[in-house]
Symmetry: C2
């Protein structure tokens, strides 16, 4: 059985995660990495992997079964993905929820022309959390769902703090509120806004001369990002920042709670959670599993854009459906 | 849009649950109930629903889009399901894990002949738990999975107690051990047998003259069912039994824990759990969602037996994929 030949576009945190994830799947091999940097500046972990400029990708059309697009949603994928979808089977983790319909339409057009497949917005939210929200709606139609994020680093909020005068380094953790989790678990179906579900905890390294009180006030007053939230600000040393706050943990919860039966007498609850030491590596693992599905669906003749909701879960693993029926079902 | 016309075969706890679940889905209607009892002995909750003898089902071939087979795995489905799969699109919750390959093969043959679809082993284990086990394997290939059942009533174990001399009523709860759950959540990937993961708690109403010590000893010594487990036996009054132990709660957990990245440095954990006041009603809700998928796949021309692993999750809900991309993904 020939291995599935994969390419990586973009060698940041997710790209490196994809490289490690491919190494954990014995039916796959990494063929090449494509970068906008100078190829010589990149040293892949995997022996024998070539690094090329991203402009050279089309010369490798026949060497790569599925391309993993590891760029960011905000700046890279809106432009890059339609271009790649017109040449390769692709998988990405596009995560700007509001733009998914528009992004889907673009990639669907590209991929249908090229007769290839693009699976968009894999990863965990969107991605696994989308799957679980739909599963909850399906099985408990008379109910509510709740998504909580964290405990984990929000890049957007960390960046917002870093833009404040006098801030040298900063990281912001989004933390689900225990009291909100408890209310949901009780089945009370509370109405909860995002800021009633989460605390924002910030760790800041300030410049020596900076006015700490002013920085704290500026953070807490920042519209959209912090002003509606319970926000905690800690000032720490550069050493503590380096030692304790350079990982990228994340996670979260999806709940569905509702009632069934005569007079809705019975409470039913579904709960899904992730606790991730490394957000980009887990995202990478999900992408690689969907690359397997993309390859299989392409071999069956399917084309166009897909989301995780279009893909049977049995296609994600190395085992055949027959093996899965024996062991897993 | 015409409603999906459903039939129920077998009007026990799951069958009644299916009837209530259909009432929660506005794109569906219950057309008829088929029973081995005298049709006159059954009074459906839903107005206008006809009750027929199970032998008369084939006269309703054109009136029913999907038949929900609500019989038990041990005695009903092995015989009944191939017969129905040869006539109707079917959904069942066949749950004898070891016999799934054999059962699948039988139904696949029947359903391919009739050019219909049978989705087997929906419900929650097998069913949702199978989905989550596969999702875990896919996203964290270097890891272990764990399934815990409970807290909930095990019919098999309750029946085993009831067969003991001097026992009038009995119910057995399977309860996950907190210490085992904690070990798994820590990511230690412990080796745990089923009896190292669960406690068995029994509530027994004994005959007035019965030797309680003997009953307790008999339970605790019962091979396979109890002797390897931490087993707790309570003797209670008939009133307490009626008041506290006639519901059918259940639930459980599926975990996947493992590592990713360079030198497997990062722990990743996925956890799914169900807490159900009514096991049969939740099972029924899952079956009804898969009936929607069966109908949609049939309209697309698919045939044969399927498991939950073959079905895209987006097909389970009333919303179209386009609506889901806007709202859920």
């Amino acid at each position: 059985m020939p291995k599935i030949r994969l390419g990586i576009v973009g060698y940041g945190n997710v790209g490196r995660g994809v490289e490690h994830a491919i190494g954990q799947n014995k039916d796959m091999e990494l063929v090449a990495i494509f970068t906008r940097r100078k190829p010589g500046d990149i040293t892949p972990v995997t022996a024998g992997v070539k690094v090329y400029n991203v402009e050279d990708a089309e010369r490798h059309l026949h060497a790569i079964d599925v391309m993993l697009l590891c760029g960011g949603s905000a700046n890279d994928l809106m432009v890059q993905a339609p271009h790649f979808a017109a040449m390769f089977n692709c998988v990405d983790s596009f995560d700007t929820h509001a733009k998914i319909p528009e992004y889907f339409a673009m990639l669907d057009e590209s991929a249908k022309k090229s007769k290839k497949i693009s699976i968009i917005s894999t990863g965990w939210d969107p991605g696994l959390f989308s799957l679980l929200r739909v599963l909850g709606m399906a099985c408990i139609p008379n109910g509510c769902d709740y998504t909580f994020w964290g405990k984990g680093v929000s890049q957007g909020h960390s960046d917002a703090i870093r833009r404040i005068n006098g801030v040298k380094y900063a990281v912001q953790y989004t933390i689900p509120m225990d009291c909100a989790l408890a209310e949901v678990r009780k089945g009370n179906n509370p109405a909860l806004s995002t800021c009633q579900k989460h605390i924002r905890e910030c760790f800041v390294v300030a410049d020596p001369q900076a006015d700490l009180r002013l920085i704290e006030q500026t953070i807490k007053a920042m519209p959209h990002y912090f002003c509606d939230y319970e926000t905690i600000v800690h000032f720490i040393s550069e050493k503590e920042f380096e030692d304790e706050h350079t990982n990228m943990p994340h996670g979260g919860f999806v709940f569905r709670t509702g009632t069934t039966g005569k007079e809705n007498a019975h409470q039913q609850r579904m709960e899904f959670s992730l606790q991730l030491d490394s957000n980009p590596e887990f995202t990478a693992g999900v992408m690689v599993a969907y690359a397997r599905a993309a390859h299989r669906l392409y071999l069956k003749g399917e084309t166009g854009a897909k989301t995780v909701l279009d893909i049977p879960l049995g296609l994600l693993v190395i085992e055949s459906m027959e093996e899965l029926r024996k062991v897993v079902v």
